[in-house]
Symmetry: C2
Subunit: 357 residues, 2 copies
């Protein structure tokens, strides 16, 4: 397994101020109806403070249904929501006080240490990039993490919107993944692999062949190419791929899990009691939808902690996303990313960006 015992302490020294999260109360498919119970669960179970950012009336109405005794919960009003269908940058201009933007500003202003949103991934990425800024050496936020846990602890990235990546971007993903594996997962000297169609050097497409040499010469603990099957074989702690491949894999996994659960129910229902089949279906779905299981993933490469979750998240997933955000802050993920990126800076030759950023 990828987890080792030597969990490290954050480099910036312990921060004794109580952790507060800025939670986008309007994001996700269910809005305040699920976000507010999630916030309450996080405040109660983790002892964290939660700033609920959203339409004040709606949020207070959802809060009114619960007992808030002793919980650190507050409402910060915002105006408007950036929807999944909106173009993120245009929407930020049109709705400058949208919930996700206000949440990011609370972090920037120091009123919260991290933000969490179940809303549009594009909006959270654009907001984080603009409000927090990018880390040195990174052009655009990446997403990823141990999304296949508990089937695999490997940190996969990019699973998002970075397609046709240049070698320097891929090397950056490696450094960022190492920061996550080292700090959040406590892996001592994370092994980094490139996802490809064969494990030998020279196997792969043009991109992989180019990237291979850069990784080999870098300071990363590079273990070479890994194949699709190796994602589950503990061959690497961090697996780097172009966002085109990663995003297809992520969505493919979700579809496969759902299809397997359905098929298994058909195939075995005569042999097993209904309760057992229900249990199995739920296990299968949750194991292949691990983004939801973990509550979400942190945005990588931005100068602050933003955790984005699945739009379908219910209250428990929202609480888990807050827990992940707290862990990322406690473990100094941003500082760790900065350090790992700085370590590889010398190895990245500055290439001219191709196409618009």
């Amino acid at each position: 397994m990828a987890s080792h015992s030597q969990t490290q302490r954050p480099s910036g020294g312990p921060d004794h101020s109580p952790f507060t999260v800025a939670l986008d109360a309007m994001g996700g498919d269910y809005g305040p109806g699920e976000i507010v119970p999630g916030a309450i669960q996080a405040a109660r179970d983790l002892g964290v403070g939660v700033l609920l950012v959203g339409d004040e009336g709606l949020v207070r109405q959802a809060l009114a249904r619960h007992s808030l005794n002793g919980l650190r919960l507050d409402v910060v009003p915002s105006q408007g929501v950036i929807e999944e269908m909106d173009h993120p940058l245009a929407a930020m201009r049109e709705k400058p006080r949208a919930s996700v933007v206000e949440a990011a500003r609370l972090v920037k202003a120091g009123r919260a240490q991290a933000m969490v949103s179940m809303g549009s991934t594009g909006a959270a990425m654009a907001t984080s990039a603009l409000v927090f800024g990018m880390l040195e050496g990174v052009e655009r936020p990446a997403i990823g993490g141990p999304v296949l846990a508990p089937l695999s602890n490997a940190v996969l990235l990019d699973l998002g919107s970075n397609v046709d990546c240049r070698p320097s971007q891929m090397l950056g993903f490696g450094a960022i993944g190492v920061a996550f594996a080292r700090r959040v997962q406590g892996v001592h000297n994370p092994r980094v692999g490139i996802l490809s169609v064969g494990s030998e050097e020279g196997k792969g497409n043009r991109q992989v062949k180019e990237v291979y040499h850069l990784f080999k010469q870098s300071s990363l603990n590079f273990v070479g190419n890994v194949e699709g099957i190796d994602v589950f074989g503990d061959k690497a702690d961090v697996i780097v791929c172009d966002g085109f491949v990663g995003n297809i894999l992520l969505k493919f996994t979700e579809g496969l899990g759902t299809a397997l659960a359905r098929r298994l129910a058909e195939a075995a229902s005569s042999a097993l009691p209904a309760s057992a089949m229900h249990l199995l279906g739920a296990e299968l779905s949750s194991m292949t939808n691990a983004v939801d299981l973990a509550g979400g993933g942190p945005l990588f490469g931005v100068n602050g902690i933003a955790v984005i979750g699945h739009g379908r998240s219910r209250a428990p997933s929202i609480a888990r996303a807050v827990a992940l955000a707290k862990r990322a802050v406690d473990f100094g993920l941003v500082e760790a990313m900065q350090q790992e990126l700085a370590a590889i800076q010398g190895q990245i030759k500055r290439e001219a960006p191709e196409g618009p950023p």
Copy 2:
């Protein structure tokens, strides 16, 4: 579901000569020990003739353990085996009478109508390409098929060695997939999609964006981009991807199935009897290793039928591979591929190949 009722007849007119397969008796992890029982099962259950191509002594020794009464089985001696580790083209020169090469020659000479091998995929591809020749408009063999059945009936290709594909190659995959879906699966007007990271036009990497326009202008029944989750959503009957993505997906699926089965056993073993867990594990493994379940896949784009199976295949999978080869011949797959490729020829602008073929 993708299957429709209008199964079509082969265009070349019915062939009343009894079907005979040339079976590479030396290929696969178990050699004649599993290939021979597989051949016997195929000869008995399907009434087909089987030419077992391999080391005569070893094959006859394996045959001696069985009753062959009334079966059309024969041995064709060959010398040497091309191993998984060999470089296919070099090995073909060094072992010109290797089992897989002799099997292809039997088809070329008309002594068999199709070949089946569980040996090196590279060797089967190189041999088929050289002995059968390529179909007009195709440069290199592709692999694929409904490999995720019964979870999805979509024909996926390329899952093999075609990486950094040019648009014309991708369009060729589309035509080939249509031929398979139409003839072998009986789909009336197969819908063709491109695997990408978003369903909208304009979503994807450079390759997909380029390919999208070519598909849109083609005579294919193009339904646009499909996402990873859509592979299981009956959005397209044929899904085209670069072999880099396809091969990663194929191997990823195998790893995920194995990991899920193991994890499910841990998670549910206390709630379920051991026999039920065993059943579930087997179901899961087989459903995510559908190449093995179908016995294998046909090589696409070559001028003849060659079915290649998993090296780990046991006798029942080998018999299924023979059945698939027979079906491909009965349904006129090669002629159908030729027709579909001819139909798109006008739409393929001749590009200069990049890099060595």
